[in-house]
C-alpha cells in the first residue's frame, strides 16, 4: 500500500527551542530512561533472591563513580518525570493551561526536580 503524501510539519531544526517543547521531550526522555531503571530494580530484587553473595556484588556497584552518576541521573529523572507528570495531570483536568501558568509551572518543575534531587542524594549519601 502506497503511503499518502501528507504535508510535513515544519522541521524541528528551524524552530527556536522553547521551554514547553524542551520539557515535553524531556518528559519522554526521562520516561524511557526510567523504564531502564525499572529493569535495574528487577535485577536488584532477583539478585536479592539469589543470596547474600550476589546481592553484595550488586551493591558494590552503587558506591562506584558510575554507580553514583547513574543513581543521580535516575533520581533526577524520577523527580522531573514526577513533577512534570503532576503538571500533565492538572492539564488533563483542564487546569493551568494559560501560557503564563504553563511557563511558571514549567520552571517550578525544573527547580523542584533539582532541589529534591540534591536533598535525596544528600541523605542517600551519594553526594
Amino acid at each position: 500500500m502506497e503511503s499518502v503524501k501528507r504535508p510535513l510539519s515544519p522541521h524541528l531544526q528551524v524552530y527556536k527551542p522553547q521551554l514547553t517543547s524542551i520539557l515535553s521531550i524531556t518528559h519522554r526522555g526521562t520516561g524511557v530512561f526510567l523504564s531502564l531503571g525499572a529493569l535495574l530494580l528487577t535485577c536488584w530484587l532477583v539478585g536479592l533472591n539469589a543470596g547474600e553473595e550476589v546481592f553484595n556484588s550488586l551493591q558494590l556497584h552503587t558506591s562506584t563513580w558510575y554507580g553514583k552518576i547513574s543513581l543521580s541521573a535516575f533520581v533526577f529523572s524520577f523527580y522531573f518525570h514526577f513533577t512534570n507528570g503532576v503538571r500533565h495531570l492538572f492539564w488533563d483536568a483542564g487546569k493551568g493551561l494559560e501560557i503564563k501558568t504553563v511557563y511558571v509551572t514549567g520552571y517550578t518543575c525544573i527547580a523542584m526536580s533539582i532541589v529534591l534531587s540534591v536533598i535525596t542524594l544528600y541523605f542517600g549519601g551519594a553526594i
Binding site: L34, V46, L89, T120, F123, G125
Partner: protein
C-alpha cells in the same frame, strides 16, 4: 441497499474505545505512582548502605512487600503504556511498530513478573 445497521458498519472501524482505555490507564497508574514513587525513593534513602539481612527483614514486613508489589505493577504497566506511545510516534513502518510493541510488552511482563515473584518469594521466606 444494505440490510446491515449503521452500527454494524461502524464496528471495528473506529477507535473501539482502545484510545480511552490506554489514556485512562496511563493516568490511573500515574496517580498510583505518586504515593508509591515517593515511598520507593524514601525507602531507597533509608536503605542506603543496608546489608543483606536488613534488606531481607525490610521485605519481610507485609506493608513493604505489598507496597513494593503495587509499585512494581504500576511501574511496569505505566512504563509499557508510555513506551507504546513513543514507539507509535517514532517507528517508520508498520512491521517495525508491531515488532517493537510486542518486544516492549514481553519485556515488561517478563521483568515485572520476575520482580513480583522475587518480592513474594522473599516475603514468604521460600
Amino acid at each position: 441497499m444494505s440490510l446491515r445497521s449503521p452500527l454494524a458498519h461502524a464496528r471495528g472501524l473506529g477507535s473501539a474505545k482502545e484510545g480511552i482505555h490506554h489514556w485512562w490507564s496511563q493516568r490511573l497508574t500515574a496517580l498510583a505512582l505518586i504515593p508509591l514513587g515517593l515511598w520507593f525513593i524514601y525507602s531507597l534513602v533509608v536503605m542506603t548502605g543496608a546489608n543483606y539481612t536488613t534488606v531481607i527483614a525490610w521485605l519481610a514486613n507485609p506493608l513493604n512487600a505489598v507496597l513494593m508489589l503495587l509499585f512494581i505493577i504500576s511501574l511496569y504497566y505505566h512504563a509499557a503504556l508510555g513506551l507504546q506511545v513513543v514507539i507509535e510516534d517514532y517507528t517508520k513502518s508498520e512491521w517495525q511498530k508491531i515488532a517493537f510493541l510486542i518486544l516492549v510488552k514481553f519485556i515488561a511482563l517478563l521483568a515485572g513478573f520476575s520482580a513480583a515473584i522475587a518480592v513474594l518469594k522473599l516475603y514468604l521466606g521460600l
